[in-house]
């Protein structure tokens, strides 16, 4: 039996999403910009996908811009915002536990003369709104905060950021990287009152290579690419229609906020069960904060290097991740920012659930971790 518990890295595509991609590739192969009916047919497909994604966020279709994924949407949000507001300040505020597509992008902007403030988490991985408030001032042109951290699952106080921006009179745009929250908790950009919000298809059982940036009506950012009129010139280039329609199908399957909340409740039960079972093993420590999104559980199997345990489990057809999949073995900047004991960082493992995950899978994982801890040679000192 294959046990896939690395759903924050990516998810298995749903049948209807695969079908949508296939259907577009084989039948609706026109270019949405073509004037003839083959083009119109493609444009209809594009419109339907856009509507499905817009509906999943309770926003208007005009506010959804398709990109090649979360990384591009994040880069577009960050660079697009600061270049649009460069005359009003040069300060960017982000959390120190952002995804690398925000983190590295801001790093690069530092070299261009922007000042970046990295708001540090506490040792449990939570970011306090007071610390964000301290960082924001009247020179701040962008505040970018992720909704849910990808490594430990901490939920950031995005709903209070707008208040801070208002109170500090900052000329800042407000971006939320919601990739890890999308489909897992009900998200309403209007409620968060953000200007920009990133989502990605492959974390919700859609295809890789497709994401979207929500841009609130009336908010202007600069494009990264120049070309045709697609996506209202914010993201030119012929639309990747097969993937976009796969995204649309996956977004359509997310269900109502009530259904999303019900799934969350089930995952919470599963996570709690996993925690109680893992607590019975000596040598396991928990890196996720207690109030983390239950879809993500970060633990350390003390003494065993993350990669070693990962490969040990893989032999048993169990797939989890060391830190975030994007870091590929590099020391996690998130766990480092939490100032965890290096021993814990080197042995960190991320278990991430989907609604397909079961108790049986958790049981097998726990058994195997126990076996690993008992049989593998401890190499982390």
């Amino acid at each position: 039996m294959e046990i896939y518990l690395d759903n924050s890295a990516t998810t298995k595509m749903s049948e209807s999403s695969v079908k949508a991609v296939m259907d577009i590739m084989t039948n609706i192969y026109g270019n949405p910009s073509s004037l003839h009916s083959k083009g119109l047919e493609a444009e209809h497909a594009l419109k339907n996908a856009r509507r499905a994604v817009a509906d999943s966020l309770s926003v208007s279709e005009n506010e959804i811009f398709f990109t090649s994924g979360g990384t591009e949407a994040n880069n577009l949000a960050v660079r697009g915002s600061v270049y649009a507001r460069i005359k009003r300040g040069n300060k960017i505020v982000i959390s120190a536990i952002e995804h690398s597509s925000i983190f590295e992008c801001c790093h690069a902007l530092e070299n261009e003369g922007f000042q970046v403030v990295y708001v540090k988490p506490d040792s449990s991985g939570n970011i306090s709104i007071e610390n964000i408030a301290d960082a924001v001032d009247e020179k701040t042109i962008l505040v970018s905060v992720m909704y849910v951290n990808n490594e430990v699952g901490s939920v950031l106080p995005v709903e209070s950021v707008r208040r801070i921006i208002k109170r500090k009179n900052a000329p800042a745009l407000f971006h939320v990287d919601a990739v890890q929250a999308y489909g897992k908790i009900p998200i309403k950009p209007q409620k968060i009152d953000c200007d920009l919000l990133t989502v990605s298809a492959h974390k919700i059982h859609g295809p890789k290579g497709c994401g979207a940036l929500y841009i609130k009506k009336g908010v202007y950012i600069k494009p990264l690419l120049y070309g045709g009129e697609q996506e209202k010139k914010i993201r030119p280039g012929t639309e990747t229609l097969p993937l976009i329609c796969g995204f649309g199908a996956a977004a359509g399957e997310l269900g109502t906020p009530a259904e999303i909340s019900a799934r969350l409740k089930n995952i919470e039960d599963l996570r709690n069960y996993a925690v109680s079972e893992l607590k019975k093993i000596s040598g396991i420590e928990f890196n996720s904060p207690e109030n983390a999104l239950p879809y993500i559980l970060n633990i350390s199997a003390i003494g065993i290097r993350s990669e070693t345990m990962l490969h040990f489990l893989e032999k048993k057809d169990i797939f989890i991740s060391s830190g975030s999949a994007c870091a590929k073995g590099k020391k996690s900047h998130v766990l480092s920012a939490m100032e965890l004991d290096p021993k814990r960082i080197d042995s960190a493992l991320r278990i991430s659930f989907s609604s397909d995950s079961t108790k049986e899978e958790v049981d097998i994982l726990v058994e195997s971790l126990k076996e690993g801890l008992n049989t593998l040679v401890k190499s982390v000192k």
Partner: protein, 390 residues
Amino acid sequence: MNEIILAKIGEVVLKGLNRKNFEDLLIKNIKRRLHPLGAFEIKASQSTIRIKPLDDNIDMDDVADKVGKIFGIVAYCRACAVEKDIEKIKSASIEYLAPILEEAKSFKVESKRSDKKFPYGSPEISKIVGSHIADSFPNIEVDVHNPEVTVTVEIRDMGAYIHADALEGAGGLPIPSGGRAGILISGGIDSPVAAYMMAKRGVELTAIHFASPPYTSDRAEEKVRTLLEIVAQYAGRIEMYTVPFTKIQEEIKEKCPEDLFTIIMRRMMMKVSQKIAEQHECMALITGESLGQVASQTMGAIACTDEAADMPVFRPLIGMDKKEIIRISEKINTFETSLLPYEDCCTVFTPKHPRTKPKLEMVRRAESAVEWDELIEEAVNNTKFTEIYP
């Protein structure tokens, strides 16, 4: 916490003996518009309509969004419904209004007591709730003259309600209290705004669109459908009739003087529209003309166009500048769609130098080169019907 919406009826209450009819119409419209969101209890009393969700999963943001687009409601507020108990009112006012009160600098409390069995009088209620708020939020002070936030406590027969300032409603009159009319819609900026403005006065819309394939494309027609879908968020269901107009346009182009092309075309549109309007029990036509905007909208040209129709033609934008029209189209969200660059029936065959001061006699003489009745009949008989829903 039980959130409800209180919708204030505006002009409707002025309508004397008809008031009941208007009110019933409005309630029917609210019911129909909210139906896709779930089950509600909708009741009217004392010029207020109370909208209460009967299902916990109903998203009140969506409800408020829809209520804000229903004509006949001047203002509405999202309120918290509690038992008529002073302690419960106190704690609910803090909890429910916290997001607003945390931000505000000054406030006052206004109370309305229509249930006289409630043991506290209005000034007393205001005082109790006011001091409780002031104690709970150190950032906020009482200011009875110029408060940033007015907290209202209503003690009514059905329960107690707490809310902050009301939001502006769509205004106007409930549809179809104003009758039914045919709107000539091309896909530009103006006609959707004209449609919206007449719908605001309670008019039920029948849309008439002229298509000239292959000079115009399917996309142009689709653009009109999209525009009507946006207008329908305010106007409710719209019947759309698409008229095949190619033959008539080609005939004008071939047989009539070039400088009169637009004016004759518009007269033919009027004649076709009137026939369709009559078939569907419309009492008037609506156009998006604005005086002097283009050659066909000078007073002389409008006089010639007007003469082609026997029924009243409403031109709600006649005295507006383009800027003012754009402002409304942005407000109702049609602007972006209107800008899509597809050729429509009005831009096909446009003459280089249209006549700005046409004389009716001259136009009639020019028209007589063609036998129109049959062509008009054919166009009317071949219209395509589409239903547009919000």
